[in-house]
């Protein structure tokens, strides 16, 4: 499902997945049907994905998350914003996050 990710909205991990941290890797394991392709799959992130994911706890709007990342990393604002929206678009389509408000 295509959905526009909105920086004024708040996002959090979905109850349809289980988030685990194993040996320094974030591993996302589907819990309900329709997320993985059934067998032998789990999901993980690249370095940026991990940094962004770690801040998606549903407590603040996405724009605030972007600002925190700009404070943490030396990256051009527009590029970073695009990366965050790209990741969340993918997570949303995979039903790994939900919009909280």
């Amino acid at each position: 499902m295509m959905r526009k990710i909105d920086l004024s909205r708040t996002y959090a991990p979905s109850d349809d997945v289980v988030i685990r941290e194993i040996e320094g890797e974030i591993v996302i394991v589907p819990l309900t049907s329709g997320i993985g392709d059934l067998e032998d799959e789990c999901f993980t992130f690249d370095e940026w994905g991990r940094a962004i994911w770690s801040k998606l706890d549903g407590s603040r709007p996405l724009g605030t998350v972007v600002q925190e990342l700009l404070d943490d990393y030396d990256a051009p604002a527009e590029l970073l914003k695009g990366e965050v929206i790209g990741l969340l678009q993918e997570l949303y389509e995979r039903r790994m996050i939900v919009e909280k408000g």
Binding site: L31, S33, G36, D40, C42
Partner: protein, 392 residues
Amino acid sequence: MSGKAYVKKVPSAQAGLWKSAQPVLARLDIELTERCNNNCLHCSVNLPAGDAGAKAREWTAERWKAVLTEAAGLGCLVVRLTGGEPLLRADFEEVYLHARKLGLRVMLFTNATLITPRLARLLKDVPPLEAVEVSAYGMTKGTCEAVTRVPGSFAACRRGLGFLSENGVAFTVKGAVLPPTRHEADAFEAWAAGLPGHTGTPAFAVLFDLRSRRGQDDKNRAIAGLRPGGEEFVRFARRRGEGPVEEWRDFCGRSAGARGDRIFACMPSAASAAIDPYGRLQFCLGLRHPDTVYDLASGSLREAMTEFLPRLRERRAADPAYLERCGRCFLKGLCEQCPAKSWAEHGTLDTPVEYFCGIAHAQAVAAGLLDRGEKAWTVRDGSERAARRRES
């Protein structure tokens, strides 16, 4: 900042998933019960479904849930729930859901006879993320129940498979090459290929283990009488062509090199373990030698994985026959000799098992690695020979 896809889909068993160390425990096998509602001719585990003594000793769901929680904390990604017949446990769903909510993938081994519409729906809604593995012996009521020795088991198994199919639950069926069924292998494979929801190629149990609990000589004699000889085994493997023989040659070429005095050659570093229905942890479900069992009731998974099993892995062979034969044999990649087999057959960890030795030699003859009558441990350049055959 890369701009590429951020979410990587990876097989959890893929090498390299872990950038640093592998988890302390990657995979756990749990035998929820030794009881089974079938009474298969060849089974190395089953006790009667109504065995009250066994049932009373089985760990409760609460204890299993605590073990699963600890396993997940150690990094475990996959748990196998098996038996006996695990669905005999009234609390199976509770254990299953706990495992899944911890983010564990579940391999369920079952005979499918107790699968209900409710359970199939649960497996649809909260998928195990592994194909359910179903032991489905026999293509007809007559042949199936000649193996299971339980009237009604054929229809019950087919009904259970139907529930899985209707709900789109991925599964794979497994057969057994036994006197009542050995003529059905081709029909079995064709049937499996047409089952909605069936995935992969069905496997066949061919080389049957003796009882891992020991002390049941009559059952062991019966199982031994069902085993194919080496040439029969090779004929079965070759029924579709020379592919398996080429695999044996290739595998042996890659894994050649004698064991020496090591007995745990099968699992030099694997972060896996098995637990029996009573909370006793072992390297694998077949290895029940008392020296190799860790009682979780008075310990922890972490201690078992980081102290007990690594110590055990260092055990060395003492049996002169093992050192003379297995220790110098270049067929270790083909042979099923291991401490669990020695335990089941001889009550030791390192006595050579003649049956599996004979099977490996028959495979090696078929693969051109040995002449008929030649003993692998007498071949001085076995590793080089295996490598040369593989190259050619």
